[in-house]
Structures are given as C-alpha cells and as structure tokens.
Amino acid sequence: MGNLPESLIKARELGYHYVGDGENIYPALKGINLDVRRGEYLAVIGPNGSGKTTLLKLFNALLDPSEGEVLVEGISTVEHDKIPMIRQICGMIFQNPDNQLVATTVEEDIAFGLENLNIPSAEIRQRVVEVARRLRLDKLLLHPPHQLSGGEKQRVAIAGILAMRPRCILMDEPTAMLDPAGSKEVLQTVSDLHKNEGIAIVHITHFPEEAVFADRVAVVNNGCLVKEGSPEVILTDLKLLHEFGLIGTPAVELAALLRNDGFKIPNETLHNRELVRALCSFRPIN
C-alpha cells in the first residue's frame, strides 16, 4: 500500500445542515467521526431521516460539509478541482436504477464516466468489455438500458463505476426497488467484488438480512453515529435496534421471544439455520 493512508475515507467531526424555508436550519448530521477502512464492507443502518444518505453524499463530494471534513485518500472533499478524482475512487449507486442510467445502450452507459475522465477511446473500449465480462453483462452491451430488469440495471450502474477502477463503492438502498432475484443478483455481485477484488463497500440498508454480509455495521440516528461493531454484536442487540425503530432479522427477533419463554438459544444467533439447530436440540429447563 506504500504510504497511502490507512483509511480510505475519513470523516472528522463531520456535520451538515440543510437550509429550509426562510432562515430555518435543519441539522442532518452532527459530529460524525467514522473511517471507512481499505477493503472493508461497512453497512450503515438507521431510520428514515437519520442522515444516512446525507453521509453518503458527503463521502462522494456531492455535498460540502457544514462542519468538520471528509478526506478521501487524504484529499479533502472541499478541494473542488479534485472532485473527479474523488468520484473515481468512490463511485455511488442510488436507490432507483432508472434515475442513474443516462445512455441509449448499456455499452455507452458503462463508458460514460470514463469519457468524462478524458481516457483514450481505445482504452475505454477495452475497459468496458472487460468490466462487462466480469459482471456477466457482455451479451447486453448493445441493449437499451430501459429494457433490462431492475437487477440488470443496477449491475450496469455498478459496471460503470467499476470501469473507473474505484477503491470503494457507495450504495444507497440499492435493492429497494428490486424483486428478490434482482436483489440477490446485486448483493452477490457486490459481495464478489469485495471478496475477490478487495473493493471497499459502504451499503445503506433498511434490511437487517442485508447488513449481515458486512464486516462492520454502523448505526446512525438523528444525525449522530450511535454505535458501530460487528454484525454479530450490532444486529443481535435488539434493545439498540428497537430504540431507533429498527428490527433484527426474523431469526434474531424470534430467538429473543423464545429465550424469554425458557428456550436456550445462543446469543449470537443471526440466521435461520442457527435458530433451527438450537430448537432441534431443545430440552425444556423445568
């Protein structure tokens, strides 16, 4: 890694406020200290309006901090002449796949970001083909994006980012509009990129079953970073999750109820298979 900073993204005392009607100021984020480490998969959970999306936009230099700073590979996001570089390092995927595809064919859409980076056309061509092969989009290159399924559209958006050779992908509820097959397709793709290529992922989600795949989970509420830790710790802490209007996976929720009824179920139970195993060996305590 040479002398690169240890953290890919560093947020220091980060704050942001929106200005509403008149002089009213709405604080969206306050005093956030959070690092995204190289190659880590970080899930961010929190209720609607907690500031998750604002945080992601600050990471990507879509917003300038009101307080504190964000450093991406050591570059402050307020250095506006470096924004293309920041966005090349950290690409962003949005909730609605239809709002982020711009070109008339998949090929042109994947190439869009590269064209804006002034990369020679021969190299653009080569990178598009290579990325399409990696994400199994090669057969769709000449299709218009609007004819694709939701999952395919999100993968095209990911391909467009991947072609820029990023170190991090930021995702804002990327499966909210997708069917179960499409969601699986996108999450598998991202998980492969994380595992096989060491790309860091920051994934905002409302679904605890998606956060389970992360290395680390951060909880945001009312503009503040409330807690962070491993999925086994955060996603099994129902007191914490319920306090902020969040929920655990069905297995975690059911395990908690059954423990109260005298069933012995390990505290770190996150998945169905662990719950089923515990219940199958159940002996009543009395």
């Binding site: 179960p180 209007g245 059954l258 089923v276 002996r283």
Partner: protein
C-alpha cells in the same frame, strides 16, 4: 364477485415488430372486503394488471368486471370507477406537485367540484384516517416532510376520494421498519374497521402477508398461482421456481418442520411462531 377478470389479455404495441404480450388469459376474482397479495418478479405483469383494474388500460381481449359490471365505456363512467377504486403508485411522493399538504390531498376531490366546506371536510378526514393530525399538517410543504409522512400524505390523497378498493403498488419501498409497520397497521385498520378491499403488489411481503387472505402470483404474464395464503405458501418449491421465496417467518417454520419438529407451517407473524414453538414444550417430543 367484486373485482373480476375474464381471460384478460394485454399486448403492448400490438401490430408492430415490438409487440409484447404483458398479460395472457388472466382470470381471477377478489371478494368484497378481502385482502389479496399480488406477487411476481419484475416484468411479470403486475403493474399492467393493476392498471386494468381501474380502467387505465384497455384489454387487447378479455374483460374486467367491477361489482358485476364490465369496466370501460364512457369517460364519465371511467371517472366514476376511479373514485371507487383508488390506485397508489410506487413511490407516489415523487409525483407531489402542490405547495401544501392541503392542496396535495384536495387535488382529486376538488376536481369533483365539491364546495369548499365539503372539500375541507374530505381533506381533514383523509389525513385523520392516515394518522396525521390535520391541524398540524395541512399548511406544511409536502417536500419538507419525512419519507414516512410523505407516503402517508400520498395515501391520504387517494383516500380523499373515499374509494371502496385500494390497489397499492410496492407501498413500503424505501420505508424503514417503523414506517413499514405503521403503514401496514393503517391498511389493516382500513380493511377491518372500514371494510376496504385491498390488493397489494409487492416484492417485500414480510409484513403484508400478515393481512392477506388470498395470494395471486404472476409469472411471465400468466397467472401462475391463485389461492388462499396457506395454499400458496405450502408450496415452497413452486414459489422458488417462480423467483419468489417464503415469507421469512414461514420459512423458519418450514425449516423446523423439515427438521422433524411437529410444528404447523402456516405461520406468518412472530407472535404466531412464538405460540406454535411454545406448544413443543407440552408435546413430549424433544423433551428429556
């Protein structure tokens, strides 16, 4: 039957090289006061079917009936139909255009030519029905509300026409767990206390399934499954083939039953699962 389709077929761009059959030979019925789930992968025809049920599309062949009468005919009749069958689109707040919550909710009933006082009454009643205190919300700018509140205002804007049926397309997309619970509690009340008939199209049916009595599954434009909730969710393999999964709690019960525990599989909520698993204590099996 309240809502019924008979061999409904829809072909987009018929007669061109781009012709695509979106719905093929769909026949189903939904009784008054029922709650039905409409499931199926993206592109299976859910949105097309929904648009037929309140006359936004005309069938290529076949017929839709509401309350025994064929849907279609004059513009006036279609408008009357759309007052009785309310449609809540996906991400409805993206279509907000008013400067105040009042105007947003009043838009549809205002077009009915109601007097001001009656209009006020409609708006207040609609907001109250979705749990938003009218005095606190009518003057607010819809864009400045939280995501959950925006969704409730969008629902109130449809309820202000006082429909008998609500058809909802992915009603909880983008909402957090608390927002999802609030919306489904509300829909349950509208159904149980006020008798509204509900048809809910969704991919994330964890919460919706607790309300549903009937389940319809579309696959590639065809009605692949139609039946009671228990009947549809007893067939895990078939659902997986159609790109769907069991509701998460039901899945746990299937896993337990498949592992040999004597539990009922037709379970859809946490509390039902808790009760069912507690019954194991007295069953003798697995006891020392």
């Amino acid at each position: 039957m309240f809502i019924q389709t008979d061999k409904l077929t829809h072909i987009y761009m018929q007669g061109t090289p781009f012709a695509a059959e979106a719905l093929s030979d769909i026949s189903f019925s939904l009784a008054k006061g029922r709650v039905a789930l409409l499931l199926g992968p993206s592109g299976s025809g859910k949105s097309t079917l929904i648009q037929h049920l309140n006359g936004l599309l005309k069938p290529t062949s076949g017929q839709v009936y509401f309350n025994g009468n064929p849907v279609g005919g004059s513009k006036a009749e279609l408008l009357k139909l759309r007052r009785r069958i309310g449609l809540v689109f996906q991400m409805p707040e993206e279509q907000f255009f008013s400067e105040s919550v009042y105007d947003e909710v009043a838009f549809a009933p205002r077009n009915l030519g109601l007097a001001d006082r009656e209009l006020d009454h409609r708006v207040e009643r609609a907001l109250a029905r979705v749990g938003l205190e009218p005095a606190l919300f009518t003057k607010r700018h819809p864009f400045h509300l939280s995501s959950g509140q925006k969704r409730l205002v969008a629902l109130a804007a449809v309820l202000s026409l006082e429909p008998e049926v609500l058809i909802l397309d992915e009603p909880t997309a983008g909402l957090d767990p608390a927002g999802r619970r609030r919306l489904y509690t509300l829909l349950d009340d509208l159904n149980k206390k006020e008798g509204l008939t509900l048809l809910i199209a969704t991919h994330h049916f964890d919460e919706a399934v607790a309300l549903a009595e009937q389940v319809l599954v579309l696959y590639k434009g065809k009605l692949a499954m139609d039946g009671s909730r228990n009947k549809i969710f007893s067939n895990r393999e078939e659902l997986v083939k159609l790109g769907l999964a069991l509701p998460p709690i039901t899945e746990i019960m299937h896993d337990l039953a498949d592992s040999g525990l004597p539990v009922n599989r037709d379970i859809y909520t946490l509390e039902e699962a808790r009760t069912e698993i507690n019954n194991l204590k007295g069953s003798g099996k697995n006891e020392s």
